[in-house]
Amino acid sequence: MWTADEALVQLYAAHWRQLVRLSVLLVRDQGTAEEVVQDAFVAVHGRWDRLRDPDRALAYLRQTVVNRSRSALRHQAVVDRHAARRTPSADEPGADQAALATGRRAAVLDALRALPDRQREVLALRYYLDLSESEIAETLGISRGAVKSHASRGAAALRPLLEKEL
């Protein structure tokens, strides 16, 4: 069995990029996503004694990334409201966003960003990580029925927004 340090290196090699991309789907900003996923890897290292299994570690990583992405968004919303009060016309995209913002990709990320948290999370886990309904339910701590309804509502909300691309 791996030590916590070995597990960290293995998990990082296998999942770092994918999890950062997952978080970008959730929070939009790549710098924020890297912070979120970095924290998740530190947390999984601290828990390795209890996880002891790469599959469970990956499930834990996913869950941690989703939860921390949600928190990062809330924090961002507070910062945004604060900034908006001081500079009402500040709607220029930041540097990180500008780097990402090329046409269709930006449109998809914007459309995801406009969805309620749960819908966005379900869509990302389903269409990006290809998780099953029950895996999504477990990751988010919600029922399979709720996964289904978030998925269909989210997809329905995205379609008109993405009409041009679809």
Partner: protein, 310 residues
């Protein structure tokens, strides 16, 4: 392009910077101390120096409350008597000393304030908590003029409003009354303390608590699942939970998300499928989230319930 291709494509250009070295540096910080409580499996109370002392009893012939345990148990199952479910706070060991924990207890029907007072003087259903008011120390409770008045029995006075045992009474009676009325403490009809307001939640309550399941709840059947809920003030509103088997092995784990976290305790709720667990005794554990991710010696609060799968 379908939705799946679009979503994959949206992040196909994202190439994260390499942060392995930074992660390793943070992971190398000693984290054992922050997690040590976790290995005290099965809700074993942490040894803390600051345990609240049991209220001093004046008369020597006051019976040991332990001997009364079970005396009233018949009432809960007796349909002729009738029962009510009341929120009762007890004192328990916490990460930073002692704090109040809440459980919902079935008590005989009747005046809820009196019933709550009686319940606080008997052992909690969860064995992790302590009784700090022995039998006979709390005599009666009633609604006064904008206050709740508690008549003390055989007990040495000299309490202060911030004492945890005083706050236990205030929290319980306010919860039962459904109103945040200050509590006056009287002895032989003379005021001895108060009116006392509830101290801030973050100062006196354990920062995570389980309302459901109750201690010893049994689950069975092919669709058995636990609807777990409670209250918490946990970093980023994340409430990690685990189910451990009787050897302390983690058999399920996940997170619930509370409705908030910063200024007081907020409700959390989650449903956990236990239909495929082998029959036996398990411990459902919730903790507060570690803001340092295990990197620092954070104070982590926890609450546990024994559950049974049949």
């Amino acid at each position: 392009m379908d939705l799946q291709e679009l979503i994959h494509d949206a992040v196909a250009g994202v190439e994260p910077t390499d942060r392995l070295a930074a992660i390793q540096a943070r992971a190398a910080t000693p984290a054992g101390a922050a997690r040590r409580w976790w290995y005290a499996a099965g809700g074993v109370a942490l040894a803390t120096a600051a345990a609240v002392t049991v209220v001093a009893v004046v008369s020597d012939d006051t019976p040991d409350p332990g001997h009364h345990h079970g005396e009233h148990d018949m009432t809960a199952d007796d349909p002729a008597v009738g029962t009510q479910l009341l929120p009762i706070y007890f004192v328990g060991d916490a990460a930073d000393g002692s704090r109040l924990y809440r459980e919902f207890d079935e008590v005989p029907a009747g005046d809820p304030l009196e019933a709550a007072l009686a319940r606080m003087q008997r052992p909690s259903t969860d064995p992790d908590y302590q009784v700090v008011w022995p039998q006979g120390t709390l005599e009666s409770a009633r609604l006064g003029d904008g206050t709740i008045d508690v008549e003390l029995g055989d007990v040495r006075t000299g309490f202060r409003a911030e004492d945890l045992e005083v706050q236990e009474v205030v929290y319980t009676l306010q919860a039962v009354a459904g109103e945040r009325l200050p509590v006056r403490f009287l002895q032989d009809g003379e005021p001895v303390l108060g009116p006392v307001d509830a101290a801030p939640e973050l100062d006196v309550l354990n920062l995570v608590s389980i309302s459901d399941p109750g201690e010893g709840t049994a689950y069975e059947g092919p669709r058995a699942s636990i609807l777990a809920r409670g209250r918490a003030s946990s970093f980023e509103a994340t409430v990690p939970w685990e189910i451990r088997d009787d050897r302390g092995e983690v058999v399920r784990e996940g997170f619930a998300t509370a409705e908030g976290w910063q200024d007081h305790l907020y409700p959390w709720q989650t449903r956990v499928d236990v239909s495929d667990l082998p029959a036996g005794f398990y411990t459902f554990v919730v903790e507060t989230a570690d803001p340092s991710g295990g990197a620092e010696q954070s104070l982590l609060f926890t609450d546990t319930r024994t559950i049974i799968v049949r």
